[in-house]
């Protein structure tokens, strides 16, 4: 994407600025506070819907809605419009965005999908490099650098997937613990069915075989649900005339009564009190829980300390002793929390067991009560069953789930049984007593029936554990494999970026042909080291100058941007990024931009006039694509000087009979123009200690120097006997003389009718010839073919020629040493 025209209305300090870029590079230059950064902000906002400078550290309280628009404008009046070329879309298209609706880019529908990709790239910051960014790339600690580069690389998708897979691993681990807990509960239920105090497989098998023998079946050697009743003969109906087994029912009622007994009540109350004490300690200190969660990490971190003071997790450089003390403090607190957690876990397990031991019996007696027609007993028992089941669930995660409101302290002794349950149990017990006893064979049959049901559940539980265990192993392999793949891809990517970075850096510093660098992940950080004069690899800020660091930042950014924008976002904004780079290396920056990025469109801002002139001289920007911001005011913004449309704007002003505006534009434009002429021709400008020069100074020096160079060129041509060249230069002298005459150059300083300070007093008819004269004067200093300024070239400090960039204008200044 390239910008052809840019129109900025009420963005930051720019009330109204229009720039015809034509897809070419643009230079915005001017002093600090002249509004240059407003152009950067406007481009940033147009492409991304935000102004990066208003975000990030130190921008608290600053918002796009309140501070993005000009201080005197409403958000809806703050608009950036552009005409752009977009790869894949035929012909230029118009796009715009308003601070009033920052999330909406107004554009043709057929371009929306492509522009969404451009927006995504821009939101990652791929289009703008500022000095602040350079610091993030170069002088930042490894973790900040990794953040910055990974943001640019957009690793968010990769990171989201990693997090998702970590969640899979953790969920399955939690699921495995729950499944193992279920197996414990199922074992307890099976033990209860066989009248065992705790589950022991061999003992359970022995009891099952006793009942099988009673029913005439052979012994079995393994406890399998499919074998429990295999070969047993069922009792005849007259061996148990009722629908329940009184012996087993009595045991169930007895087990419930025992759970409600005073001796059990004292145990439960004590366990519950200890549980609450531990829970209270953990919950009352949020830090304790926090450190508990990080204990393993902190202990690992302490193991990894190497005495350098570098944080093993984030690579931040800290004081070694302070870091060690800090981590040890956290570890001690975490260990303290661990003790409380283990105590809590033990008590939670005990409470869970109290519930488990009685739950199966409650279930059985509720069914029995239903069969006996005692609805009240059934309802109370079912209510209790629900309460104890929720207690079991709460004990799986007591810190997160348990609530005192659900399990009041005063009811702990009753194991949170409903009131009057005892009376209902008495009624049920009496009904059981009235029932005729079951035969021994019937009892064995009923025990095996219960055992079969519960063993079947237990086998299902074991299958569940096996399934989750395998899934958990697969999840671990999956994330290991993912992370290995990610590391391989990133390593490959970083290698490519490093190679390109080195290539760019060597262009800027061609006296360092053996320069090398490394860019590689190190833990959570990204280690970046560069060669220093062949003496080894160091952090960029260790030995290199600020200027070298700035050029490294530029090279690294360009290496990243080149790789990632993939041709879609052909625009790069460089916001005052060579402040610390010296003049010689800036020339090389120009070379890098023109030779390595011929297809990119650069928008470059600077307050440095020398750099502006270098960019022009090197052909990075053309004369007409330099805009000069000066004299910014709140109401008008900057006065914008741009040579390309200078004459058109002046004509517009004269057409509107606004001589004042036309005169101001001519004066500012010519000041800017002849300042550049002085630079190109190496003209001598009269020095003043205030370092302020006006048109008179620039013009006098430019004309004088032009005459001098023309004279030297003629003399040189004569020395070589080049008569055609001499004739051509004579003709040019003649044209020059006419133009000088027309501008009344000889008398301009004393003639009030053409003195630029008085231009504003002229009528349009009087002023038009002055404008034409200056327009023609400017053409003297430009090549008619390439439109660029002619400039003096030197070799070894000696002026050798006056040339334009395309070579059509060439005045030789090296005289022949032979005498004709």
């Amino acid at each position: 994407m390239k910008i052809l025209e840019l129109d900025i209305q009420n963005i930051r300090g720019l009330p109204n600025v229009s720039v015809p870029l034509g897809g070419r590079n643009l230079l915005v230059w001017g002093p600090n506070g002249s509004g240059k950064s407003g152009v950067v902000d406007a481009v940033d906002f147009l492409l991304s819907g935000r102004i990066t400078r208003l975000t990030g550290p130190g921008t608290g309280g600053i918002s796009l809605a309140q501070h993005g628009s000009h201080v005197d404008a409403e958000p809806e009046e703050a608009v950036v419009r552009a005409r752009i070329d977009l790869p894949g879309i035929e012909g230029p298209i118009d796009i715009s965005r308003s601070i009033g609706s920052p999330d909406h880019l107004d554009c043709p529908e057929e371009a929306r999908a492509l522009l969404s990709e451009v927006e995504a790239l821009a939101r990652r910051g791929q289009h703008i490099l500022t000095r602040r960014d350079i610091l993030r790339y170069i002088t930042a600690d490894p973790s900040s650098r990794a953040d910055q580069i990974q943001k640019l690389l957009d690793l968010s998708d990769v990171e989201n997937l990693r997090r998702g897979l970590v969640t899979v691993v953790n969920s399955l681990r939690t699921g495995l613990r729950a499944a193992q807990g279920d197996v414990g509960t199922q074992e307890e239920r099976l033990a209860a069915a066989l009248d065992l105090d705790a589950y022991r497989e061999a003992e359970a098998l022995r009891l099952v075989n006793e009942h099988r023998v009673a029913l005439g079946a052979p012994l079995i050697t393994e406890l399998k649900s499919q074998d429990i009743k295999a070969g047993v003969s069922s009792p005849s109906p007259d061996e148990s005339p009722q629908s329940f087994n009184p012996d087993l029912a009595k045991k169930d009622v007895s087990r419930i009564e025992e759970a409600l007994s005073e001796s059990r009540a004292a145990q439960v109350k004590q366990v519950h009190k200890d549980f609450l004490d531990s829970l209270s300690v953990i919950r009352s200190d949020p830090d304790l829980l926090h450190e508990l969660k990080r204990l393993q990490l902190i202990e690992k971190g302490l193991d990894l300390l190497d005495g350098s003071g570098r944080c093993p997790l984030c690579d931040t450089q800290l004081d070694a002793e302070a870091l060690k003390n800090h981590l040890e403090g956290k570890r001690d607190k975490g260990r303290q929390a661990k003790v409380y957690e283990e105590k809590l876990g033990k008590k939670a397990e005990d409470l869970r067991d109290f519930a488990t031991n009685v739950l199966a019996s409650i279930d059985q007696v509720a069914t029995l009560a239903d069969g006996l027609g005692d609805q009240r007993a059934r309802d109370l028992l079912e209510e209790w069953h629900v309460k104890l089941s929720s207690l079991q669930d709460a004990m799986d995660d007591p810190i997160g789930v348990y609530s005192n409101d659900d399990f009041p302290l005063e009811l702990a002794g009753r194991l949170w049984a409903p009131e009057s349950i005892e009376d209902r149990l008495v009624d049920v017990g009496q009904a059981i007593e009235r029932a005729p006893p079951a035969s021994a064979r019937q009892t064995s049959w009923d025990v095996l029936t219960r055992a079969l049901e519960r063993l079947s559940d237990l086998e299902g539980g074991h299958d569940g554990v096996a399934t989750v265990t395998r899934a958990s192993q697969r999840a671990q392999v999956l994330i290991d494999c993912f992370q290995r793949s990610r590391d391989a891809v990133l390593e490959n990517l970083y290698s490519a970026i490093r190679d390109r970075f080195v290539e760019f850096y060597k262009i800027l510093h061609d006296h360092e042909p053996d320069f090398s660098a490394s860019l590689q992940p190190e833990g959570a950080g990204l280690d970046f080291r560069v060669d220093f004069m062949g003496r080894g690899a160091y952090s960029p800020q260790a030995l290199h100058s600020e200027g070298h660091q700035d050029s490294m930042g530029l090279c690294l950014f360009l290496a990243l941007a080149e790789r990632l924008s993939a041709g879609l976002l052909g625009l790069i904004v460089l916001d005052d990024v060579v402040m610390s780079v010296d003049s010689e290396h800036r020339r090389q920056v120009c070379r890098l931009l023109t030779e390595s990025f011929p297809d990119k469109q650069f928008v470059i801002t600077t307050h440095d006039q020398t750099w502006a002139m270098q960019l022009k001289a090197a052909g990075v920007v053309q004369l007409g694509d330099m805009i000069h911001f000066v004299n910014w005011t709140l109401q008008t913004g900057p006065i914008v000087g741009q040579i390309r449309d200078l004459w058109e704007r002046i004509k517009e002003a004269l057409d509107d009979t606004d001589v004042n505006d036309a005169a101001a534009r001519l004066r500012r434009g010519c000041e800017q123009y002849f300042e550049m002429v002085c630079d190109s021709l190496h003209a001598r400008v009269r020095y003043n200690s205030e370092h302020r020069w006006d048109l008179e100074d620039w013009l006098r020096a430019s004309l004088s120097r032009y005459s001098e160079l023309l004279k030297n060129a003629k003399s040189t041509a004569q020395s070589w006997g080049e008569t055609e060249t001499v004739e051509s230069l004579n003709e040019l002298s003649s044209v020059k003389a006419q133009i000088f005459e027309r501008c009344q150059i000889e008398r301009w300083a004393v003639n009030p009718s053409v003195h630029y300070n008085n231009w504003a007093n002229l009528t349009p008819d009087e002023f038009t010839p002055v404008v034409q004269a200056f327009h023609d004067l400017c053409t003297l200093f430009e090549c008619s073919a390439c439109g660029q300024l002619i400039q003096v070239t030197e070799a070894h400090g000696v002026e050798v020629a006056v040339k334009c960039p395309c070579g059509q204008v060439t005045w030789n200044l090296e005289r022949s040493t032979t005498t004709s």
């Binding site: 690389l153 957009d154 690793l155 998708d157 990769v158 989201n160 997937l161 997090r163 998702g164 897979l165 969640t167 899979v168 969920s171 399955l172 699921g175 399934t467 989750v468 395998r470 899934a471 192993q473 697969r474 999840a475 392999v477 999956l478 494999c481 993912f482 290995r484 793949s485 990610r486 391989a488 891809v489 990133l490 490959n492 990517l493 490519a496 790789r563």
Partner: protein, 71 residues
């Protein structure tokens, strides 16, 4: 029964990350090339994981768990 492609041969030929591919695509390409080397996964599971990745849903834990728990 969904159709299964048990031979990831074409993927084996593409293990070198291409500059044109998104980073995530490159990572997934390598990962799916490695997974069949362990006997923990059935070809059906790998294919389902691949389909989930193609649909951009591999980051959804519940979908992944469902596949990993299937026998």
């Amino acid at each position: 029964m969904e159709s299964i492609d048990p031979t990831p041969a074409e993927h084996q030929e593409e293990t070198q990350p291409s500059e044109d591919k998104d980073l995530l695509d490159q990572v997934l390409l390598l990962m799916f090339n490695d997974l069949p080397t362990t006997d923990l996964f059935s070809p059906e599971q790998i294919e389902k994981l691949r389909q989930l990745a193609d649909a951009g849903s591999l980051h959804r834990p519940e979908r992944v768990i469902e596949i990993l728990q299937a026998e």
